[in-house]
Amino acid sequence: MASKTRLSLHVPEPEVRPGDQPDFSDVVIPKAGSVDRPPVDVDPREIRDLAYSIIRVLNRQGEAVGPWAGTLTDEELAQGLRHMMLLRAFDARMQTAQRQGKTSFYMQHMGEEAVSCAFRKALEPGDMNFPTYRQAGLLIAGDYPMVDMMNQIYSNESDPLKGRQLPVLYASKEHGFFSVSGNLGTQFVQAVGWAMASAIKNDTKIAAGWIGDGSTAESDFHAALVFASTYRAPVVLNIVNNQWAISTFQGIARGGSGTFAARGLGFGLPTLRVDGNDYLAVHAVAKWAVERARRNLGPTLVEYVTYRVGAHSTSDDPSAYRPKEESEAWPLGDPVIRLKNHLIRRGLWTDERHKQAEAEILDSVISAQKEAEKHGTLHSGGRPSPRDMFEGVYETMPPHLRRQRQKAGV
C-alpha cells in the first residue's frame, strides 16, 4: 500500500528574477553542425531525438557548418541580413511613434527577426501563413510595402484595414499573410484547415501556422495537431519559443515536457527544434519542412528557440519580472550580428558597409514613415471614416446595420 505522503503543489518558477544574476547554464546548446539532416521522407519515429536537440548552422566563429548548411546563395544571405535590419529599424521607429502618441500600441520583434524573415524565403507565391502578431518579417521579407504596414499601425485614412483592427494585426492575401487574430492560438488550426483545403483541391500550395511558446497551452494547438496528424495536411506548424509569454516564463507552459517540440511526438509528427537566432538554420529547417508538405508527406512541427529581447508590447515593462541583463546572457546571441559576422567572415560584408546599410535602411524607413504620416496618425490627420465602421460586417449590409448607420448620422 502506498504510504500516505502529504501532497504538495509544484509551481514551476524561473531560475532568476529581477536582481538575480541571469543564468542559462541549464540550456543545453548543441554544437553548430552536430545534428543530422534526415531525408524529408524520413519515418518520423526515427528522428524523435530532433525534438530534444537544436539544429544549428552558424558556429561561434561565424562559419556555416554541418549538414543543414548551404541552402542559401551569397545574394540571398545578404538580402536576409537586409530584411532583418529593416525589421529592426522599422520596429524602433514604430516603438517611438507609439511613445509619441501616433498609435495606441506596438509590438516589436527584437531578437526574433531571423525566424519570420528566413522562414518567408522558404515559401513560394500562393502559400499562406497564419501568423501571430510577432511575424512581421513575413511581410518585410515578402516585400509588402512598408508604408502600408505603417498606415495600418497608424489607423490612418490609407490603412488597408480601415482602422478596424489593432496595430500590427495586418492582413494580406496577396502576400500570403492571413488576418492576424488578437486571440491567441486560434489560427494554428485554421492553418491546418487551409492546408486541408489545398489537399482537397489537389493544389500545390501549402500553409504555415504560427504560435508562441505560451500559446501552445491553448486548445487550438491541440486541435491543430490532431487534425494535421489525422489528415496529413500539408502544413508547417511553427512554435516560436522566445522564452516568455508576457511575464510568464516558458516553464509554465512547457511543464515537464522537456521541450515544446516534444508535443509533436505524441501525434507521430516529424518534429524539429532549431536555433531561432541563426538565419541559416531557420531557413534550412523551414525549407525541409516546406518540402515535406509540398511533397504531400504531411505536416511538420518546428520549434524555434529564440529570446524576446524587448518588452512584450508597448504596454509591458519586463524589468518587473526578469533581470534586465537576461537578454545579454542569452546564449544564442543576436540574429543580426550573427548573420553579419558570417557575411564578414565570408568576405561578403564589412563593418563599414554594415554601418552604411544601417543608415540607408533608416533613411528608407523614415521616408516611408513620412509618406504614411501624410495620411494621418491615430489621433491626427486623415482617418478612416466612421462609415467604414459599419461596412464589411457582412458582404451586404443588412437592414439593422443600415438603420444604425443612419442613426449614427454617417
Binding site: M128, F130, P160, L161, K162, R164, Q165, L169, A171, S172, K173, F178, S179, S181, N183, T186, Q187, V189, Q190, A191, V192, G193, W194, A195, M196, A197, S198, A199, I200, K201, A207, S219, D220, H222, A223, A224, V226, F227, T230, G392, V393, Y394, E395, P398, P399, H400
Partner: protein, 337 residues
C-alpha cells in the same frame, strides 16, 4: 413534387450544393461513412468521395477552426456539430474568428461557412441534447442565424446559407425532422409526407435569408415564433380560438423586422414564443424591437413564452417545454390585457 422529411430535405440541399459547386465540402462527427447520427449526410460520401464528405475527430473547435481555414482558401464548408449543445468548444472560433474575419481584414479574407446543428428539445434528451442556443449567436455581429420549421424551407434556406458569402449558424429543430410537432407529445405526429410543406422540389432553389413567412393570417394578435414553436403556436391559437397571425421568422439574424412591425401594427398585440430559456433569450430582442417600433399600436404588454430559466431537465421535459397549454394561456392573457 416529391415529399421529403426534413432530414431528406437537408440532405438534398447539401447534395444539390455539392453537385453544383466542387468547393462545397461536408464534414463532422460521424458524418462520413455513417451519414450522421440523424442521417442528414447519408450517401454523400459515397457520391462525392471521402475528401468532400468525411468524418472528423471529436473536436468541435477543430471542426470549425479547420472550416474557417478552408473557407479562407476558397472552399465552402458545411460543417455539422452533432448537437447544438456541443457547439461551445467551438464558440471562440465562431465568435472571435468566423464572425470577424471579413471585417478585421477589410475583406481580404472571408468566411463563407455553414454550421449545421440539431437543436431544441422534445426528445427526452436531457441537458445535453435539447438546448436552443440561438441567442448566443444573435448577439454576435458578423453571423447570420437561421432556424427552418419545415422541409421546404430547410432545403431552400440551407442552399441559400451555403451560397451565402458569410458565416451562417443553421439550427435544425430536431423534433421537426420527421414531422410537425405541436407540443402535444401524447398524440402521434403526422409525418411530413402528409403535410403540404413536405413537398420539396428536387433540384436547386433557395429561400432567401432574412425573410419571414406568415404562416397564418389573423387580426387579433401576432405570434412571433420559429422552429418547433411555429406548430405549437398554431395549435394554441386554434385551441384557444384566437385569430392570431403567426409569423415564422425563419432567419433570426438578419431579422425581417418589416413583416413583424406591419403585423403588430395591425393586431396591436404580440406574443413571442421560443424553447430557449427566457432570460436574455432571443424573445427579449424581439420584445425590445416590437415595443420600440410599435409602441403606439400596442394594446397589451408583449408576452414571452419560453423555456424556464433552468437547465433542460430530463424527467420534467413536458413541464419545461413551452407547449400549447402555456402558449395558449399567454394568448388569453394578452387578449384580455
Amino acid at each position: 413534387m416529391p415529399r421529403m422529411t426534413m432530414i431528406e430535405a437537408i440532405r438534398s440541399a447539401m447534395d444539390v450544393a455539392m453537385g453544383r459547386d466542387d468547393n462545397v465540402v461536408v464534414f463532422g462527427e460521424d458524418v462520413g461513412y455513417f451519414g450522421g447520427v440523424f442521417r442528414c449526410t447519408q450517401g454523400l460520401q459515397q457520391k462525392y468521395g471521402h475528401t468532400r464528405c468525411f468524418d472528423t475527430p471529436i473536436s468541435e473547435l477543430g471542426i470549425i477552426g479547420t472550416a474557417i481555414g478552408m473557407a479562407a482558401y476558397g472552399l465552402r464548408p458545411c460543417a455539422e456539430v452533432q448537437f447544438a449543445d456541443y457547439v461551445y468548444p467551438a464558440y471562440d472560433q465562431i465568435v472571435s474568428e468566423a464572425a470577424r474575419i471579413r471585417y478585421r481584414s477589410n475583406g481580404e479574407f472571408t468566411c463563407p461557412i455553414v454550421i449545421r446543428m440539431p437543436t431544441g428539445g422534445g426528445i427526452f434528451g436531457g441537458q445535453t441534447h435539447s438546448q436552443s442556443p440561438e441567442a448566443l449567436f444573435t448577439h454576435v455581429s458578423g453571423l447570420k442565424v437561421v432556424v427552418p420549421s419545415n422541409p421546404r424551407d430547410a432545403k431552400g434556406l440551407l442552399i441559400a446559407a451555403i451560397e451565402d458569402p458569410d458565416p451562417v449558424i443553421f439550427l435544425e429543430p430536431k423534433r421537426l425532422y420527421n414531422g410537425p410537432f405541436d407540443g402535444h407529445h401524447e398524440r402521434p405526429v403526422t409525418p411530413w409526407s402528409k403535410h403540404e410543406l413536405g413537398e420539396v422540389a428536387d433540384g436547386h432553389f433557395t429561400v432567401p435569408l432574412g425573410k419571414a413567412a406568415v404562416r397564418r393570417e389573423g387580426a387579433a394578435l401576432t405570434i412571433l415564433a420559429y422552429g418547433t414553436m411555429v406548430y405549437v403556436a398554431q395549435t394554441a391559437a386554434e385551441e384557444m380560438g384566437i385569430d392570431a397571425e403567426i409569423i415564422d421568422l425563419r432567419t433570426l439574424l438578419p431579422l425581417d423586422l418589416d413583416t413583424i412591425v406591419a403585423s403588430v401594427k395591425k393586431t396591436g398585440r404580440c406574443v413571442v414564443v421560443h424553447e430557449a430559456t427566457l432570460t436574455s433569450g432571443y424573445g427579449a430582442e424581439l420584445a425590445a424591437l416590437v415595443q420600440e417600433h410599435c409602441f403606439y399600436h400596442l394594446e397589451a404588454p408583449i408576452a414571452r413564452v419560453a423555456g424556464w430559466d433552468t437547465p433542460y431537465p430530463h424527467a420534467q421535459e413536458w413541464d419545461y417545454f413551452p407547449g400549447p397549454h402555456r402558449v395558449g394561456e399567454a394568448l388569453i392573457e394578452t387578449m384580455e390585457a
